[in-house]
């Protein structure tokens, strides 16, 4: 970056991001001009009614989807200008994603699911296995590493998905309702885990949640309404 701005560019800057599904008469805008900055090391909760565009925005942030209009800067790099492979590399090295619907590989053990991102990173088998076991231990699933998604409860699958997202030690973790399928005790454990990762490892966390209790773990809450940021409140965390 040229010039000498007093502060470095934020980790993430969305400007006027719009997402329109469909064409012509049938088209509908899921996002209508989102402006959002997220700094390095933040813990952001995204809230809002169902259908307000939270998942759509997260997918764009996670480089899984492309906006119809608007710009996305990641560490000052314009994501729209990146090629497919560069975007894949961005996901591989910097972004972790936890899906609302898990998206684990079927008939594949928890351990192998968690190992998968490390295979693409080219880690040798021994290190890969050790890191995957550590991540599974972090989500409390050490005893379940041989189980396939079909043999795990929804909450357990969600934790495998979280382990898979954090095993690569990404810069940002995008989590779309990571506690949506968990009971309160488990949800708290997951939130403690994310908080620890955020505090001690500087992991930036952006998390969608419907539960105000869970949003309390975040330092900042962004409210989506009808495809727009309706409120952005800071300093509630505790």
């Amino acid at each position: 970056m040229s010039g000498a701005p007093p502060s470095p560019p934020p980790l993430i800057r969305l400007t006027g991001v719009t997402k329109i599904y469909g064409h012509g008469q049938a088209s509908m805008a899921a996002l209508r001009g989102i402006d959002l900055d997220i700094g390095e090391g933040e813990f952001v909760a995204v809230m809002g009614p169902s259908g307000s565009g939270k998942s759509t925005c997260m997918n764009i942030l996670g480089c899984l989807d492309t906006p119809t209009r608007g710009s996305y800067l990641f560490r000052g790099v314009s994501v729209e200008d990146l090629g497919r492979n560069q975007r894949a590399m961005l996901r591989r090295h910097y972004l972790g994603f936890v899906f609302q619907g898990f998206n684990l590989l079927n008939r594949t053990s928890a351990l192998e699911n968690v190992e998968l991102p490390l295979i693409y990173r080219g880690l040798p088998a021994g290190q890969r296995r050790a890191a995957a076991r550590k991540a599974l231990a972090a989500v409390g699933l050490s005893d379940w590493e041989g189980h396939t998604p079909g043999e795990l409860s929804g909450g357990q699958q969600q934790r495998v998905a979280i382990a898979r997202a954090i095993v690569t030690e990404p810069a940002v973790l995008f989590a779309d309702e990571p506690t949506g399928n968990l009971d309160t005790a488990r949800s708290r454990e997951i939130m403690e885990l994310l908080t620890t990762l955020n505090r001690e490892h500087g992991l930036t966390v952006v998390m969608v949640t419907h539960e105000p209790d869970m949003a309390l773990y975040a330092k900042r809450t962004v409210h989506f309404v009808d495809g727009k940021v309706a409120a952005d409140t800071n300093g509630e965390g505790g």
């Binding site: 899984l64 492979n85 996901r91 994603f97 079927n106 594949t108 998968l116 991102p117 898979r164």
Partner: protein, 401 residues
């Protein structure tokens, strides 16, 4: 990267045993069917070729009557012994001339009778037809000149009339005459046309003409051409000579026909070759059906696999890494199926060639062809749907239902 792809591919194969087995099975069946059919076809062709070679390809056969079309002949005066003598005298490119006359006859011994074909011949007939005396002797000059009542039996006649007894020296009744068995022919088996070549009784020509046929006619002259001389040349000379002898004016059609056994051989080889290509076509269809089977399985699994591709892309796999994995999967399955198919084909065609009594001749070309065709089908249908999916945005691949 290749190592990773191999690791991921093998994991996927292991996880989806049923899908992998079905894909492989399609290839196994296709490959095995093609190779087996072509091998059997090739064996049959080789057998026919061998039989033709035993017939002799330097043989010309002359019959009275003009050629009217498939196997039909018009009425024409028969040959005489003098025609055969003239051929031997006047055409230098000819090695041997064997005139013969034949008719069906019933042979009777004390307690058996057998309806067979009696031939009036001389010893040159044996040479021209590749017949061997197994026991006893050929006709002597005296037998031939005096028209003695002696005969040589084919293996079938011998078996039917005498069973396991030795017929040499015994007498059999043939029509009005009783003749002594002086020789036995070695068995020749069935001809290419399916006729039993051992169901014959040979008599001296003169004996046959006088005592069985009651006329001087020669129904067939067989001529063998000298080694190294084109049969076409000998045939032309023969036709020329016979036209002169039978006084056929210029512009008139021949009233006899000369057949070159080489042509017959070529026709037979052609027929078996058509048969082989037919078998090959049937086999190709089964290969195609196998290929469609593979294609279906691959396409049916595309829904699940598209989601899998979406997951891989979402966690940072490159398009080419995903594709390489799918390619390796397809190659591993197809080549495994191909090898299994080849082994199955070996066993099947060995068994069938035993059963059908044709020689077992492997055609390496078809093995290679079948293998690569099925591998190509597996790779194409394993690879292209994957390529389509890997080009989507990860979220679209994940949403695929």
């Amino acid at each position: 990267m290749l190592w990773n792809a191999l690791l991921l591919a093998l994991r996927e194969i292991r996880r989806n045993v049923l899908r992998s087995v079905l894909t492989t099975l399609g290839i196994v069946i296709g490959v095995a069917a093609v190779i087996t059919m072509v091998t059997i076809g090739g064996g049959a062709t080789a057998q026919v070729t061998q039989q033709i070679a035993s017939l002799g390809t330097n043989l010309l056969i002359i019959r009275p009557g003009q050629r009217l079309g498939m196997g039909q002949r018009g009425i024409a005066p028969p040959f005489k012994l003098e025609d055969a003598v003239a051929i031997a005298r006047e055409i230098p490119s000819i090695a041997a001339v064997a005139p013969s006359a034949s008719q069906s006859a019933t042979a009777i011994t004390g307690n058996a009778n057998w309806s067979t074909a009696a031939y009036g011949v001389d010893n040159r007939y044996l040479a021209v037809r590749n017949l061997t005396i197994q026991e006893g002797r050929p006709f002597s000059d005296g037998d031939l000149r005096a028209g003695r009542a002696v005969c040589i039996l084919g293996a079938t006649v011998r078996k039917e009339l005498f069973g396991t007894q030795n017929p040499l020296g015994s007498n059999i009744r043939l029509g009005k005459i009783s003749c002594q068995v002086i020789g036995l022919l070695e068995a020749k088996g069935q001809s290419t046309m399916g006729r039993d070549q051992d169901d014959i009784i040979l008599l001296p020509l003169r004996t046959f003409q006088r005592r069985i046929a009651g006329n001087q006619e020669i129904s067939l002259i067989q001529v063998s051409v000298r080694e190294g001389i084109a049969t076409e040349k000998a045939q032309a000379d023969l036709e020329q000579l016979m036209r002169e002898r039978r006084r056929i004016g210029p512009g008139e059609d021949d009233d006899f026909q000369v057949r070159d056994m080489k042509e017959v051989a070529q026709m037979l080889t052609g027929t078996t070759r058509i048969l082989t290509s037919l078998l090959g076509a049937v086999a190709a269809v089964s290969l195609l059906v196998g290929g469609i089977g593979i294609m279906n399985i691959m396409l049916v699994s595309v829904t699940e696999r598209t989601r899998e591709i979406g997951i891989r892309l979402a966690i940072g796999a490159l398009e080419r890494e995903v594709l390489l994995q799918f390619l390796v999967e397809a190659v591993v399955l197809s080549s495994f199926g191909g090898v299994a198919g080849i082994l199955l084909a070996m066993v099947a065609s060995l068994g069938m060639s035993r059963l059908l009594e044709v020689p077992f001749i492997l055609n390496p070309g078809i093995i290679v062809l079948a293998f690569f065709f099925s591998a190509a089908v597996g790779v194409i249908f394993g690879f292209f749907p994957a390529r389509k999916a890997a080009r989507l945005d990860p979220i679209e691949a994940l949403r695929h239902e």
